[in-house]
């Protein structure tokens, strides 16, 4: 086993990875950008090194700096987390050359599967159905025109590299085609250093269902129960659950087998996720892409199986044999994850920034919080808006959902606006409760992203705000100072008499 691992990431995933490593008795090395020096992932590390810079390109994407720190700290392995350099085969290759074990797949299988176009070819060869798509396109040419004419609008522009919804655009008409290709290509180039994009037929009513796999270097590969990830905004997942309400045992086995076959065909090792689009009417599924890394939503799989995926990633990278049998991966009960993001759900999900003056996560049976922030810290705009992931689990779906709903309502947060109210509204929605939803859920229910004042917000809230305006504490630049008051009884009921 490794003695020291560099975690080349930030936020909640850098915290979560270090938790497992430290539990395994492995020392951790954290890295940080200028604005992250007080972040929890730095505070918890056995060793921390500055990356001297502000932007992602200057810091967590700078392979040279990361490998230099790995060398100086004598780390024998590197965990890339997700995003940043996690799916970059050149970086994995540089790690290999520097004799630092990259905790993930080989650069070769990453190249084969991480490139969405090559992965689709491999999937077809392994017998998995794929969504019809075009080849690489930078501008509109006759072959693209023809593809659009055959499949009709809307179409989806996707980046060949990377994931996380970046470089992905929905094209509603011919007029939008040029600008969408250009914007997606620019976004992909800046996010992944690879501006190649392609077109795909858009399946509007589909459900996004994915299969977690683990494969070792000794030919063993297993799949886990599927994760349902159809609640998305801007093609980025917001809520995930496992198992999927749309998948039964027979379909689960077929999808799992397709995922494992693909992994074996690609010579894939370590943790990976095979994403499918499921047509709930026909129960047909189509291969979408492989994420050659740990997924954001991996904790729901851990919650139902009791396994630690980061531990297995590390053990597989260290050359150990996967000793989990396919029969042990079934899991029990149900788990759901909500991504808590710093954003305004009522203003097109515009990112929000500020200081987290209050951040008081709920705790209790069946709850887990993977958080990258702490109270008092500043949330800046340089990185992703994901603050934390709340995971609720229980013996069945109804209990998991109820635990989630209660936990979301009992998570006092001040200073940074979050999407929690929207998450609550989705969980409470009758269609979500019934398990009947697809990737178009938030677009179909536009009312959820429009602020609807309730009776409470119309009457109670202004009065409470008025009281708080006079009683709440102050920070330095408030222009309306509060007099120092001395009150003999610290807890007293304010109320009783009505205003005359």
């Amino acid at each position: 086993m490794f003695s020291k691992v560099l975690v080349a990431n930030r936020g909640e995933i850098a915290v979560r990875v270090q938790q497992t490593l430290q539990t395994m008795g492995v020392k951790t090395v954290a890295v940080y950008s200028d604005t992250d020096r007080l972040a929890p992932h730095v505070a918890m590390a056995n060793e921390a090194h500055p990356l001297d810079g502000i932007t992602a390109a200057e810091t967590y994407l700078d392979a040279g700096k990361l490998l230099d720190i790995a060398h100086r700290s004598r780390a024998d392995a590197l965990h890339p987390g997700y995003g940043f350099l996690s799916e970059n085969p050149d970086f994995a290759r540089q790690c290999r050359q520097a004799r630092v074990v990259f905790i993930g797949p080989s650069p070769e299988s990453m190249e084969a599967l991480g490139d969405k176009l090559r992965a689709k070819d491999l999937a077809q060869q392994a017998g998995a159905p794929v969504v019809p798509g075009s080849g690489v396109c930078r501008q509109v040419d006759p072959s693209i025109e023809k593809f659009a004419a055959v499949h009709g609008y809307p179409l989806l522009v996707k980046a060949a590299a990377g994931g996380g919804g970046r470089g992905m655009r929905l094209v509603n008409s011919r007029e939008e085609l040029e600008s969408s290709l250009e914007a997606a290509s620019r976004e992909a180039a800046s996010a992944f250093g690879d501006g190649r994009v392609f077109l795909e037929r858009y399946i509007a009513q589909g459900r996004h269902v994915e299969v977690q796999i683990l494969a070792d270097r000794h030919g063993n590969a297993i799949y886990f129960p599927e994760r349902e990830c159809s609640i998305q905004r801007r093609h980025q997942k917001l809520i995930e659950e496992t198992p999927s309400p749309a998948v039964g045992p027979e379909l689960r086995q077929r999808m799992g087998k397709a995922a494992v076959d693909l992994a074996k065909a690609a010579g894939y090792t370590n943790a990976g996720t095979v994403e499918f689009l499921l047509d709930p009417q026909t129960q047909e599924f189509y291969f979408l892409e492989v994420n050659t890394r740990l997924q954001v939503e991996h904790p729901i799989t851990e919650a139902v199986t009791g396994l630690d995926l980061v531990e297995w990633q590390t053990r597989i990278a260290a050359g150990e044999t996967l000793t989990i049998d396919q029969a042990e991966t079934q899991g029990t009960g149900h788990a759901i994850e909500c991504r808590i993001c710093a954003e305004d759900p009522y203003n097109g999900f515009a990112p929000a920034t500020g200081r987290l003056a209050l951040w008081e996560p709920p705790a209790g049976p069946g709850l887990r919080l993977d958080s990258g922030v702490a109270q008092g810290l500043e949330v800046a705009s340089h990185f992703d808006s994901l603050l934390a992931k709340l995971i609720a689990s229980g013996p069945d779906r109804a209990i998991a959902l109820r635990r989630m709903e209660l936990a979301l309502a009992r998570f006092p947060t001040l200073g940074v606006t979050t999407n929690v109210p929207l998450l609550m509204d989705v969980i409470r929605h009758p269609e979500f409760q019934a398990g009947e939803y697809d990737t178009g859920f938030l677009e179909h229910h536009g009312e959820l992203t429009q602020w609807q004042p309730s009776d409470e917000s119309a009457h109670t809230v202004p009065a409470l705000a008025a009281w708080a305006a006079e009683n709440a504490g102050l920070t330095s630049n408030n222009t309306h100072p509060l007099p120092n008051r001395v009150d003999p009884s610290p807890w007293r009921t304010l109320g009783g008499k009505k205003f005359p």
Binding site: A56, A183, S190, A191, R234, E343, D344, A350, P351, A352, R355, A357, L358, E360, S381, H382, F383, D384, S385, A409, R410, P412, T413, L414, G415, V420, P421, W451, D455, E456, S457, T460, V461, P462, A463, L464, A465, A466, W467, A468, A469, E470, N471, A472, G473, T475, N477, N478, R485, D487, P490, W491, T493, L494, G495, G496, K497, K498, F499, P500
Partner: protein
């Protein structure tokens, strides 16, 4: 007795309202625009620091928990899972126009200016791209709110901007 005026700015902009808060030993009473709010507030009035915690008993019998604190010039309020932000309305802030000067291009979110596509003196059409911003890995195109001439470009590529900051000034 204390009084003042507040305006909600989040989740949606609300009208200015006037309030009075009376806090005799027997408990506080609050009125909003002259109407008494049948609201009981349980909190620690000696709470030190910037955040007040407690719970309320509303007229309908619900008793949700709340937290509130001033952060800079904004009053942040959390009530039963929902967040609200208010600002104090003073004589100056009433006189101050709520919106920026008619038709300038403002930053819709905090972030970094990725690209500036116009220069001073340039004629632009409504909807024409003036700049591109980046925030939390998202790219946002700043379109011209109207046709006109660029009077001044207030930012440069790589600049950090706050929400509502003027990016490009326009004139007829």
């Amino acid at each position: 007795m204390k009084e003042g005026r507040l305006r909600q700015t989040y989740p949606a902009a609300g009208p200015v309202f006037h309030y009075r808060v009376e806090e005799p030993e027997s408990g506080a009473t609050v009125s909003v625009d002259g109407i008494a709010a049948g609201l009981e507030i349980v909190a620690d009035t000696n709470a030190v620091g910037e955040v007040q915690r407690g719970w309320i008993r509303a007229a309908n019998g619900n008793r949700p928990a709340f937290a509130a604190g001033w952060i800079g010039d904004s009053l942040h309020l959390w009530l039963d899972g929902q967040q609200y932000v208010f600002e104090r309305v003073t004589a100056q802030s009433v006189a101050r126009p709520v919106a920026a000067p008619e038709g300038d291009a403002l930053a819709p979110m905090p972030g970094t200016v990725a690209q500036v596509l116009v220069t001073a003196g340039q004629r632009v059409e409504a909807g024409e791209t003036l700049a591109v911003m980046e925030s939390m890995k998202m790219e946002l195109v700043i379109a011209s709110p109207r046709a006109g001439v660029v009077k001044r470009v207030a930012v440069a590529e790589g600049d950090q901007v706050d929400r509502g900051m003027r990016l490009v000034e326009l004139e007829e």
